[in-house]
Amino acid sequence: MAIMTVIEAVREAMREEMRRDASVFILGEDVGRRGGVFLATQGFIDEFGEQRVIDTPLAEAAIAGVAVGAAMAGMRPIAEVQFGDFMFPVFNQIVGEAARIRYGTNGKLHVPLVVRSPYGGHVRGGLFHSQSPEAYFAHTPGLKVVTPATPYDAKGLLKAAIRSNDPVVFLEHKRTYRAVRGEVPDGDYVVPIGVADIKRAGDAATIVTYGLTLHYSLQAAEVLAGEGVEVEVVDLRTVSPIDRETVLESVRKTSRALVVHEDNLSLGVGAEVSAIIAEHAFDSLDAPVMRVAGPDIPAMPFAPTLEAAYMPTADKIEAALRRLLEY
């Protein structure tokens, strides 16, 4: 059992899968000699060579589109999109094309593709290096959207994504890359896509979250625990498909639900989770489902004051929890 950071776990997952399966390869901007701007592929070009670690032209649509073509041909590409904010040039190929290929060929073809991208803010990334694009992809049937928050989950879920026979958008919160450390077992293991995880057990209320705000939620839960109030924290880990059963089971136990995410509030993952709870656990609720999320503005601003004002921090989550518990 080793202690590693999220970025180290991501690197280990890819390295092991590339050793295990010759059809796995990486393409993206600066992934070769540079090892990726976040060093996810550091050292890979020496081990696997430039045939399997491909520095591409600066052209995100081609990175995704070429990866889709190679995946249809039976390879297992891992396309790195340098920042989540650059997923929009990729959008057409992933949402428009990859998601619909199994359905649109009546099962003749499928797309075993992973599109990895560092996303999220609270890193002074400004409007175009802080965005959380998961809801756009999660809306699309045919895609799986994975958002790990810990080293253990990052490694196990990335391995599952690489072995998936359907396209996976794999979003790694860039603030967790080096800030979050944790135990990772030696050797091969897989965390199944679509299964949530209870990161903290409790009975007073349920927080449903994913990504960086998992850690802020755990901090808020810790504060309340000091007062004898135990809050359960459910880490979705996968935002599409959502693990309805784990969410509903927790809410039926606690009777109160707070949904937390960094992406802006409206029409996002939190709206879907709230609807699931309202439809299937209405009779268990002692309070309305509440949400803490980024405000409905175009993106997280650069100035530290504005960034802090955007971010769903532990303080904001704690305040919302108190409102929920007092309702």
């Binding site: 073509g69 057409n92 428009g96 094309e97 290929i101 009546n106």
Partner: protein, 335 residues
């Protein structure tokens, strides 16, 4: 200038030309039938290949003769590619009538879209030019696995305005991938003429910007089209990288059955274009060489009509897909 059979390009012989002509007759007959069935209210949407047949068939024959293996990424106007690659008239008509058993998409997609990998044809999407990066990716996979596949990426002139074509051509050239970019230039993107799409007269002139060869030839001329495609296929097969082949063709009918070209195209222009009809040109070439007679031509047309009649009956008799199939094959079935 009267064309003769004296100097056919390497790999192409007189028998091929007779074979190509027979294919042309069948495909034109089928295309005309599909258009008629649209006007009868039976086929919801049609994009006609009429005027493109020589270009499409010459490219397929060049791939067959000059590559050990090949794959075609087609677009919606490539009926002659799909049929010559083995999509039967019945299967094509199942697509146009959206009937059960349609092999490319199970009638989930517009006609001619989906995949028949066993016949080396993929056409994923209606979003113009999105398939060009796919073709490059297929070629990348082939190269990584050491397979001798040459990939043909077909598109119209309008598609070349898309950014993904630029990205894909650049990517393929940088990586020296075995791709032939085939531009069927009929000079119209629905209603917008070429001079509103680009400020060059030849799409192929862009090839220099990607560091690859580009050539423009008469796409109504089977022999010239074959020669240009063969050279590009051989270059790809040698591992020297992609080429751009622009085939100057004609579009005899509106963009699709939902289009009215009379509002943007003069009748005289289409009449003039019909003088380049690829069927008439190839027939004249074969007749000049003593390989075709009016009687033999009439037999071919009658045979094609019978085949298309039978296909029409079979497709009309087929049921629509069952409605409970609508939720299937979104993801892999596990367990």
């Amino acid at each position: 200038m009267t064309q003769t059979m004296n100097d056919l390009p390497s790999g192409l012989n007189a028998e091929d030309l007779v074979d190509i002509y027979a294919n042309m007759v069948l495909i034109r007959t089928l295309d005309e039938r599909i258009w008629a069935m649209n006007r009868q209210g039976k086929a919801a949407i049609v994009a006609s290949s009429q005027g493109h047949e020589a270009a499409q068939l010459a490219s397929v024959w060049a791939l067959r003769h000059h590559a050990k293996d090949y794959f075609c990424f087609t677009y919606y106007r490539d009926l002659a590619v799909t049929v010559s690659q083995g999509l039967t008239p019945t299967e094509a008509l199942l697509g146009f009538l959206a009937k059960e058993g349609e092999p490319m998409s199970g009638a989930r997609q517009f006609p001619q879209h989906g995949a028949i990998p066993d016949r080396k044809v993929i056409n994923i999407s209606n979003v113009v030019a999105t398939h060009i990066p796919h073709a490059v990716g297929w070629a990348l996979a082939a190269k990584m696995r050491g397979e001798p596949t040459v990939v043909a990426a077909y598109m119209g002139d309008g598609a070349t305005s898309q950014g993904e074509v630029h990205e894909a051509m650049n990517f393929a050239s940088v990586m020296k991938l075995p791709v032939v970019f085939i531009v069927e230039n009929n000079k119209y993107a629905i209603s917008v003429p070429q001079h509103r799409q680009m400020n060059v007269t030849e799409v192929s002139s862009r090839a220099v910007g990607y560091g690859m060869p580009g050539v423009t030839v008469d796409g109504t001329d089977v022999v010239a089209s074959y020669a240009a495609c063969a050279e590009a296929v051989e270059r790809a097969a040698r591992g020297d990288g992609p080429s751009l082949v622009e085939l100057d063709v004609e579009r005899y009918l509106p963009h699709t059955s939902d289009d009215d070209d009379s509002v943007y195209r003069a009748k005289e222009e289409i009449d003039e274009a019909r003088k380049r009809d690829p069927l008439a040109k190839l027939k004249a070439l074969l007749q000049g060489a003593g390989l075709m007679t009016d009687e033999r031509d009439a037999e071919l047309r009658e045979s094609a009509r019978r085949e298309v009649d039978a296909a029409t009956d079979a497709a009309e008799a087929a049921p629509f897909p069952p409605d409970d199939d609508v939720l299937e094959r979104v993801f892999e079935e596990v367990g």
